[in-house]
């Protein structure tokens, strides 16, 4: 019985990929471990190995095809003793190509297992993170042409533009150069700027964070990439003790103009040591600027501002967001102001305050609330330090109700800070207590069902919003 070879999922959030290259052709014998194809995801190009033995009977998806859905049958394998020529494609195979919407009807016989689409908390966040702002950013002039771009491309373009403009700017970190970035954020920079300005480091976070800080003290403008902010724990001494405090300790003579950037927050199914949000940690430190943007526009405009800043900036990206596409204004040298929140959706009944990936969840919740007659305003903080208190208080004065949505722990969080600000400076505007919708107060579990329970989702936000509106 012929075996169906299906498009594999190469990462927990992968939904489709490109079949970059076939390394076998029809009639070739394969055994387990042979590399059959190269498959490209938005992160990387991966080799796809054979598991079963047999002869390639049919290649159903030609190389160079983009948008091949995970689980689509891409080839048929004739088993030993089977006549390869007699193998036919499954009925729906022809429609497996990208245009097809339907999954092929499962043929009865010997079938390689279809990759599971596990419902995880991270996937729910990832799905919610497709929401665009519903109102234009006043920072973008009316009538500006918009172009579609992924968060990853926006970050890369921001770095490339600033590197073109200022020879002091360089980027260093693990796998930033030859590998093109562990998450492909620095893709193409080595080719354009060379290895003097795109520097691969050893796995030595404490060392290169210190080295980068020293280079900033020496007059350069380093962008230090952490593969993830989880690894920056090894380096947090230099971020805080060396970079953040130097200007103050030197009476304003010695500056540390640099950016520490990389993915932050929960990714998918990577469990406790690789899933945490350091926003509140860094945001508690005077001397640092902390930025945690949501969409591609803010990633671009704020990373450029961060690179130009005379102060050390912690720039918190989100791995789940890298592949998300948003509209970015087509403006030469698009720079956004640091420290300004942005209304993503205006509303009058309740304010949902969030940042980073939480904004997508807040927008999704606002959509659901609209269906129940509640008009929510969504405010994206964008910068966590300095925090745009005025925008928070202004929105509170308008809606008189507030829910903070934060993909992070509840204790000593940005949400706690917002609640305190509302108590201290917006008490008279409050018609209900400020509520926090945050992750659960436990380390991140691995199991899919537990991860889902751990993370925020829009239903939790809807529930809290209804509570503060006294409509639950």
């Amino acid at each position: 019985m012929a075996i169906e070879i299906k498009m594999p999922a190469l990462s927990p959030t992968m939904e489709e990929g490109s079949l970059a290259k076939w390394l076998v052709k029809e009639g070739d014998a394969v055994k387990s471990g042979d590399i059959m194809a190269e498959i490209e995801t938005d992160k990387a190009t991966m080799e796809f190995e054979a598991v079963d033995e047999g002869t390639i009977a049919k290649i159903l998806v030609p190389e160079g095809t983009d948008g091949v859905k995970v689980g689509a049958v891409i080839a048929m394998l004739a088993e030993e003793g089977e006549d390869a020529a007699s193998v036919s494609a499954p009925a729906a195979a022809a429609s497996d190509a990208p245009a097809a919407k339907e999954e092929p009807a499962a043929p009865a016989a010997s079938e390689s297992p279809t990759p599971h689409k596990v419902e995880t908390g991270a996937r729910k966040m990832y799905d919610a993170a497709s929401h665009d702002a519903e109102t234009p950013d006043p920072e973008v002039p009316e009538g500006t042409e918009m172009v579609k771009m992924t968060v990853r491309e926006a970050l890369r373009d921001a770095m490339a533009e600033e590197m073109r403009a200022d020879a002091r700017v360089f980027v260093m970190g693990e796998e930033v150069a030859q590998y093109q970035g562990a998450y492909k954020v620095t893709q193409g920079l080595l080719e354009e700027f060379g290895d003097k300005r795109v520097v691969d480091t050893p796995i030595t976070e404490y060392g290169f964070a210190g080295l980068g800080t020293g280079a900033a003290m020496g007059g350069l403008r380093p962008i230090v990439e952490f593969m993830t902010f989880n690894f920056a724990m090894q380096a947090i001494d230099h971020v805080i003790n060396s970079a953040a405090k130097t200007n103050y300790m030197s009476g304003g003579q010695m500056r540390c103009p640099m950016v520490f950037r990389g993915p932050n927050g929960a990714a998918s199914r990577v469990a406790a040591q690789h899933s945490q949000n350091y926003g509140p940690w860094y945001a508690s430190v005077p001397g640092l600027i902390v930025i945690a943007p949501y969409d591609a526009q803010d990633c671009k405009g704020l990373l450029k501002a961060a690179i130009r800043s005379e102060d050390p900036v912690v720039f918190l990206e989100n791995e789940l967001m890298y592949g998300r596409t948003f509209e970015v204004p087509k403006i030469d040298d698009f720079v956004l102001p640091i420290g300004k929140a942005r209304i993503m959706k205006p509303g009058k009944d309740v304010t949902l305050v969030s940042y980073s990936i939480g904004v997508g969840i807040a927008l999704e919740a606002a959509e659901k609330l609209a269906g129940e007659g509640i008009d929510a305003e969504v405010l994206d903080l964008r910068t966590l330090r300095p925090l745009d208190k005025q925008s928070v208080l202004k929105s509170l004065a308008k809606t008189n109700r507030m829910v903070v949505v934060e993909e992070g722990w509840p204790t000593c969080s940005i949400a706690s800070e917002i609640a305190a600000i509302c108590m201290e400076e917006g008490f008279d505007d409050l018609d209900a207590p400020v509520l926090r919708v945050t992750n659960e107060d436990v380390p991140m579990p691995y199991a899919a069902n537990l991860e889902k329970l751990m993370l925020i989702d829009s239903d939790k936000v809807v529930k809290a919003a209804k509570r503060v509106c006294y409509k639950d």
């Binding site: 360089f170 003097k196 480091t201 050893p202 030595t204 404490y206 060392g207 290169f208 964070a209 210190g210 080295l211 980068g212 800080t213 020293g214 280079a215 900033a216 003290m217 020496g218 007059g219 350069l220 001494d237 230099h238 003790n241 060396s242 405090k245 130097t246 200007n247 103050y248 300790m249 030197s250 009476g251 304003g252 003579q253 010695m254 500056r255 103009p257 005077p286 001397g287 600027i289 800043s309 005379e310 102060d311 102001p337 640091i338 420290g339 910068t383 300095p386």
Partner: protein, 348 residues
């Protein structure tokens, strides 16, 4: 457990065929140079004694680490620098700053926490900087200055400005992991940095032998292919000679080098350290036999400098230090509004 039989020792340890720096020669100083070294060492000694005194009077607070006994190290090394070069060190930093040309009163006023201090009174003893004098701190976290200094060297190379970074750290910091992360990158990228280990024998109260598996600290770069030289840090001319050799190595593009300066601090680790971990006799013996300033004084006498000339120098330095102390005592504290300045450079 049975003792393993002693391994037969080979006559000669295997020699590496890597290029190594030459054994440094003791510097042949002119009379003028020798006089300058003497003055610089004496300035540090008197300055530190005065700082200790002001500490005792409650005018200096917090931690205050004195450099007394170690003067020959910084004087010998920094006398060989050019104005392109940068200096960074840990918290025992007063002497290095004075040698960078920072006026004693600016340093002393920082120690007393005054607005006129080099850091406007916000840094204190351990956190002082002067970009104008290419002195990059003054760092309070043990070992942090090693990657930071490597970063300064990275900037020298990036800017192709011909500068070298002199990065000092102690025998205690030599056991910090980040030091080796920095060593690795410094050699990997052939950065212009001289790593100076000021081995004053005690990391706070723990002697080198009690804390270091390899107590010959100049060898600590071996696994990174960084050559090291052990130097008599109580002899200013030996220090200067070693600096010449090290700077020649680094300036030739051969990458970093380590100088282990064997030295000794007479005082406690900080002002609050009673130094019970060593005997008074041990300290006295070093003072009597190896004091760098007495040593230089004898050299001066040998070079024909008269007792009177030396006395005049001593008086001049005492006057300068007293003036710095008076200034530091009288100049005002920072305005309360300074609490909120210099946190960030930009306004957001």
């Amino acid at each position: 457990m049975a003792k393993a039989p002693a391994r037969q020792r080979k006559a000669e340890p295997p020699k590496s065929n890597r290029e190594r720096p030459d054994e440094p020669k003791r510097f042949e100083a002119s009379k003028e140079q020798l006089l300058q070294f003497y003055k610089d060492m004496l300035l540090i000694r008197r300055f530190e004694e005065k700082a200790g005194q002001l500490y005792g009077l409650g005018l200096i607070g917090g931690f205050c680490h004195l450099y007394i006994g170690q003067e020959a190290v910084a004087v010998g090394l920094q006398s060989a620098l050019s104005d392109k070069d940068s200096v960074i060190t840990g918290y025992r930093d007063h002497g290095h700053m004075l040698l960078c040309g920072i006026p004693p009163k600016d340093v002393m006023a920082e120690l007393t926490g005054r607005a006129a201090g080099i850091s406007k009174g916000k840094g204190g003893s351990m956190h002082m900087f002067s970009v104008d004098h290419k002195f990059y701190g003054g760092h309070g976290i043990v070992g942090a200055q090693v990657p930071l200094g490597t970063g300064l060297a990275f900037a020298h190379k990036y800017n192709d400005d011909g500068g070298v970074c002199l990065a000092y750290f102690g025998d205690g910091a030599a056991n910090q992991g980040q030091v080796y992360e920095a060593f690795n990158m410094a050699e990997l990228w052939k950065l212009p940095v001289v790593f100076v280990i000021e081995n004053n024998q005690y990391a706070m109260g723990t002697s080198v032998n009690r804390s270091s598996a390899e107590d010959q600290l100049y060898r600590r770069g071996e696994s990174f292919r960084i050559p090291g030289i052990q130097v008599d840090g109580m002899d200013v001319l030996a220090a200067r000679g070693a600096a010449e050799e090290a700077l020649a190595w680094v300036r030739a593009g051969k990458g970093p080098i380590i100088l282990e300066m064997k030295t000794y601090r007479y005082r406690g680790h900080s002002m609050s350290d009673p130094a019970k971990y060593r005997s008074r006799d041990e300290v006295q013996a070093v003072r009597d036999k190896s004091d760098p300033i007495e040593h230089a004084k004898r050299e001066l006498e040998g070079a024909g400098v008269t007792e009177d000339e030396i006395k005049k120098i001593e008086q001049e330095i005492r006057r300068e230090v007293n003036e710095a102390a008076d200034f530091a005592e009288q100049t005002p504290e920072p305005e309360a509004s300074e609490l909120y300045t210099d946190v960030l450079v930009g306004t957001y």
